[in-house]
Amino acid sequence: MKQRVLVLYLSSSALDDRVVGWASYDGTGRTKPTTGDGDDPPYVTGVDALRDGWRLFQASQLIPPYPGHEYDTSFLKHEFFFEKLE
């Protein structure tokens, strides 16, 4: 059994919010996704991925900003990992 992983970045912490970024990794070896290989997200929302059979296995925690760094921006906050096993 091999794992395909889909990472979706959503516009808020809600799983039904819209996808703003994405990445995928294919343990089957059939495809070779890479940086900058497409402009269209695979799903409009995180829930759309669930409806297509992807299983959620990790979601970002909600972490308060560090004192003194409330206005800093860095990594995308709302990251969701999904898998399919084949």
């Binding site: 808020s12 970024g21 990445a23 996704p33 890479t34 940086t35 497409g38 990594f75």
Partner: protein, 270 residues
């Protein structure tokens, strides 16, 4: 560097502050593009870090001719001032059918400077078609505090720019912008020549400020990008307000009262 009348307008400067880059399409003439490709194929020696531009690029060299082109010189004048130092230069090559892309990254190391910035010039001497692995750019990512390729997990972001361009195109980038060389799926080599510039003087009102009060300036600075999370996108605008205050020397500038509101503490001085 040649002084020109091609200074940036305030609207274009605001676009740079918001997007983190400007593009100058097909500003380099064909003869210089040909000379550049020949020079890149021969190999271009490096220069010591931080030397004056005039020393780094002797008169007559293709690099000097490139930075002296009026649109390029005018834009650089507005961004890094009249006498920038050359941090380094590099020839980047994406080989034909090479099979992989660079991870998304910011150059050098995490850079927390908020009141100054370096500029990276990227020059494409030949046409870049969609399958040639043109540079991936993420508009509005330049103020994010991340270190080099720690962003490598992000393969695609909504609204990203997968550069295609005519021959002779020049990009001018804020040092912090997320970018990467895409996979070249064509049978042609793709060249890009990069120069990083360090300012040597305060970057305050170095451009043509006649249009500083044009409503289009505020519109540029208010732009959000499709990949922004809703809440964090507001912080991006907040940080742009701070950058624009620095660039203009106007510490009252604001958008939607966001900076003024969160600093309003009546009766308190610290």
């Amino acid at each position: 560097m040649t002084t020109t009348s091609h200074l940036l307008s305030s609207v274009l400067m605001a676009r740079f502050a918001a997007q983190g880059f400007l593009r100058l399409d097909a500003v380099v003439p064909d003869d210089l593009n040909s000379a550049a490709i020949e020079a890149m194929e021969r190999g271009i020696p490096g220069v010591p870090h931080g030397i004056p531009l005039d020393v780094a690029f002797p008169a007559g060299s293709f690099a000097r001719r490139l930075v002296d082109l009026p649109p390029v010189a005018g834009a650089l004048r507005g961004l890094v001032g009249p006498d920038p130092a050359v941090d380094h230069l590099a020839v980047h090559v994406r080989e034909p059918n090479e099979g992989s892309a660079q991870p998304l990254h910011g150059d050098a190391i995490i850079d927390t400077r908020r009141d100054t910035f370096d500029v990276q010039l990227m020059y494409y001497p030949h046409e870049v078609t969609p399958d040639m692995g043109g540079t991936l750019l993420v508009p509005g990512s330049h103020l994010r505090l991340t270190n080099e390729s720690d962003t490598g997990r992000y393969q695609n972001l909504l609204g990203q720019v997968r550069l295609t361009c005519p021959a002779g195109t020049v990009l001018l980038l804020h040092h912090g912008i997320w970018h990467g060389g895409r996979r070249n799926d064509s049978d042609r080599r793709r060249y890009m020549f990069k120069i990083r510039f360090n300012p040597t003087a305060p970057q305050v009102r170095l451009w043509d400020t006649d249009d500083l009060d044009d409503p289009a300036v505020r519109a540029e600075l208010s732009t959000t990008f499709p990949w922004y999370e809703y809440a964090t996108g507001r912080l991006e605008v907040y940080n742009r307000i701070a950058l624009w205050r620095t660039l203009t020397g106007d510490d009252t500038f604001d958008i939607e009262h966001w900076a003024t509101r969160v600093h309003n503490r009546p009766g308190r001085t610290a």
